[in-house]
Amino acid sequence: MTSLILRTKSFFNLFGGINGPKKRMTLFIVVPAIIYYLILRYYPVFQTMILSLTDAKLLKKEYQFVGFENYAFIFKDPPFVKAILNTTMYALATTLFTVVLALILAFLLNPLPYGNNFMRLLFYLPMITSGIAIATIWLWLYQARFGLFNQVLGYYGITPVPWLISKEWALPSLIIMAIWGGVGYDAIIFIAGIRGIPTEYNEAAKIDGATDWQMALYITLPLMSRVIVFIVVTSIIGSFQVFQQVFLMTRGGPLDSTRVISLSIYDYAFSRLKIGVSASMAFVLFIIVGVLTVIQLRMQREDWEL
């Protein structure tokens, strides 16, 4: 109880007590943002939850409460179960390889005396390029007979890869494209993280005879742990919501090998017009992302260290 009172007091102390005119001004500025979030962010989530418990259809005004029928349906629906597995695999693989490559890139780029900014711009370009343009170009790069990748492989005598037209290669193809798109952004964040470490640590280690590898492993990486965790968790959260590339490049095929949760949500909403089922899928995704967010927030707490 005491703790609750102290916490409430500390909340109002953020504003120095609600009676102060400056703090009233602060509240006045904050309240519109709160209203915005309530109406445009939290209300749709609440409404989705309600719809997920109904048999709502896109073209019908009336709908009935059906309880958890939609949830029972989607978890028995093989394509949706496959979508969850595919999305999880996509998120983990993309994140793992992106983070590792970005770290390597950051360590390589950071010490460069010249051209550092140019290289960073170059690696950041995929982030600011239209997703549709990227997907269109990569569709051609991956074209199984005449695409650039297989032409290069053929030049070296390697058997062409059926990138997007085989069950085994379709998802890895999308993962490769996602890694290419995300590694630059992560590298820039990591470079900022490296530059935030006081140089005294490395200087002291150098004096003690530590190698570059030892400094990276025992000094730089541990001190960058929070940045790494932040990137890992936000990358996983973002990857779980993948939609554009899949929709444009494979539409979930071949044979549901690239079906992801967002695509299932879209299909049930706008192809089958079953909003209730689609909402239940969306709520499942919300729960997954929510859990990951909570994990991230807890790992960001001050009393946590690698």
Binding site: L58, R145, F146, K167, R251, G253, L255, F270, R272
Partner: protein, 440 residues
């Protein structure tokens, strides 16, 4: 004071004159009432909104709207084209009352919208049945109903590269007519490297509903009607023959490879010699690959016997404008009047809209227009159309099922029989789930 006596005659004269004067005055008032004409009130201005997709086509509807304004100055037709998320916008806007007056329709959503009473039936006075059947004779009015006007038909066309035929030692003026002739011709036009990998395929395929042409050519059907109920009829000898046709193309005759690019790119880039496809591909080659377009020939699709017995294949009716609900009454009325103008009077407008998509025009008078009969491609479509089968409804899930079946055969390497059985059961599920409601 001197007085003057008025005698009777003078009195009567004055009285008569007065009476005449009063009578004239009364009559003048009456005449005035009869001559006065009620000036009709100026019609209120009204805006008719039309939504669709593909800007080039919707521009043609806007031009029709501008022509209509010259006839009805108080009506402004405003056409909007949405190339992204069009149907999401429509399906969300109409129930909310913020949708358009008229909407360009597509079969994938039309039947659902019709079943939910979101489209308004055509005015029986403006569009009596006799008029519709006479002026739009190739349209399946029974299947589609009286809720949307037809825009034109996509027939299935056989396209071949005449130059490649010559290089293969074949006569470009005698394209193959039977399935056997087709296999032989495509084999001759196929090129492969030393490893047997195709470098140019003899045949490219249009991946939308690929099996249906062949199934209908064999006299098969994919649906049965049992009373009022639809029953899946997918697992049949005719559909088996259709699937086997594709398997043979890839494995027995080796003229086709799923790894090749999409058919419009394959033909346009000279990576494929022939194709059986929906007519719209013609427009892509004409605009994007003009050099190759000059080398292309068009003919009826090859059939088992060389004749359309019973059909050359599938056709797809492209739908035009429908009037939507939840608009103000005067706007709906104006929209229906514009619809009447466009489909009854604006034949040139209809022809422009159908031609841009490579469609056989829907209106009977446009079928004999010299712009159609004088163009070899359109003339071919007119010839084929009566001998093509329209399955009417193609829902999103049904269309997706065809891609899955193709992948089962060529990615998962399942047998034809397994694939057929899967197709049958999935179609049954889709009918039960209400995803297919009006297939013909």
């Amino acid at each position: 004071m001197a007085t003057q006596n008025v005698n009777r005659r003078d009195f009567l004269k004055v009285a008569a004159l007065a009476g005449i004067g009063v009578g004239l005055a009364a009559c003048k008032g009456k005449v005035t009432e009869e001559v006065a004409v009620e000036v009709p009130p100026t019609p209120e201005p009204v805006t008719v909104t039309v939504w669709g997709w593909w800007q080039d086509r919707m521009n043609l509807f806007q031009q029709a709207g501008d022509r209509y304004k010259q006839k009805q100055p108080n009506v402004t037709v405003t056409v909007s084209s949405f190339d992204q998320d069009f149907w999401q916008k429509v399906l969300a806007a109409v129930p909310a009352g913020t949708g358009p007056t008229l909407c360009k329709m597509i079969t994938a959503n039309y039947f659902k919208m019709r079943s939910e009473n979101m489209v308004i039936e055509l005015d029986p006075v403006a569009f009596p049945d006799s008029f519709l059947k006479e002026k739009f004779p190739n349209h399946n009015w029974q299947g589609y109903g009286r809720f949307v006007m037809p825009e034109g038909e996509q027939t299935v066309i056989f396209t071949y590269n005449k130059k490649m035929m010559e290089e293969a030692g074949l006569d470009p003026n005698k394209p193959p007519k039977t399935w056997d002739e087709f296999f032989q011709a495509t084999q001759k036009m196929t090129k492969a490297d030393a490893n047997g990998t195709l470098t140019m395929e003899g045949f490219a395929y249009d991946d939308w509903l690929p099996f249906h042409n062949l199934c209908f050519q064999k006299g098969g059907q994919i649906i049965k009607h049992e009373g009022d109920n639809l029953v899946a009829n997918f697992n049949t000898p005719e559909m088996e023959a259709a699937m086997q046709f594709f398997v043979d193309l890839a494995q027995k005759y080796k003229v086709w490879d799923k790894a090749f690019p999409y058919f419009t790119d394959a033909i346009g880039n000279r990576q494929a010699a022939t194709c059986i496809h929906e007519a719209w591909g013609h427009g892509v080659w004409k605009s994007d690959f003009p050099e190759v377009y000059a080398e292309l020939g068009f003919d009826v699709p090859p059939t088992p016997t060389g004749e359309a017995s019973p059909y050359y294949g599938r056709k797809n009716m492209v739908l035009g404008l429908a009037t939507l609900i939840n608009r103000p009454e005067n706007e709906t009325s104006a929209g229906q009047n514009f619809q009447e103008y466009f489909y009854k009077e604006d034949l040139e407008g209809q022809l422009a809209v159908s031609s841009i998509s490579g469609l056989v025009p829907a209106h009977a008078e446009n079928l004999v227009n010299s712009k159609v009969t004088g163009d070899p491609f359109f003339a071919l479509g007119v010839k084929i159309s009566p001998k093509c089968y329209d399955i009417v409804e193609i829902s999103g899930p049904f269309s997706d099922l065809q891609y899955t079946l193709m992948d089962m055969l060529f990615v998962d390497k399942k047998s034809v029989k397994e694939t057929l059985a899967f197709g049958q059961s999935e179609m049954e599920k889709q009918i039960t789930a209400g995803d297919i409601t009006a297939m013909y």
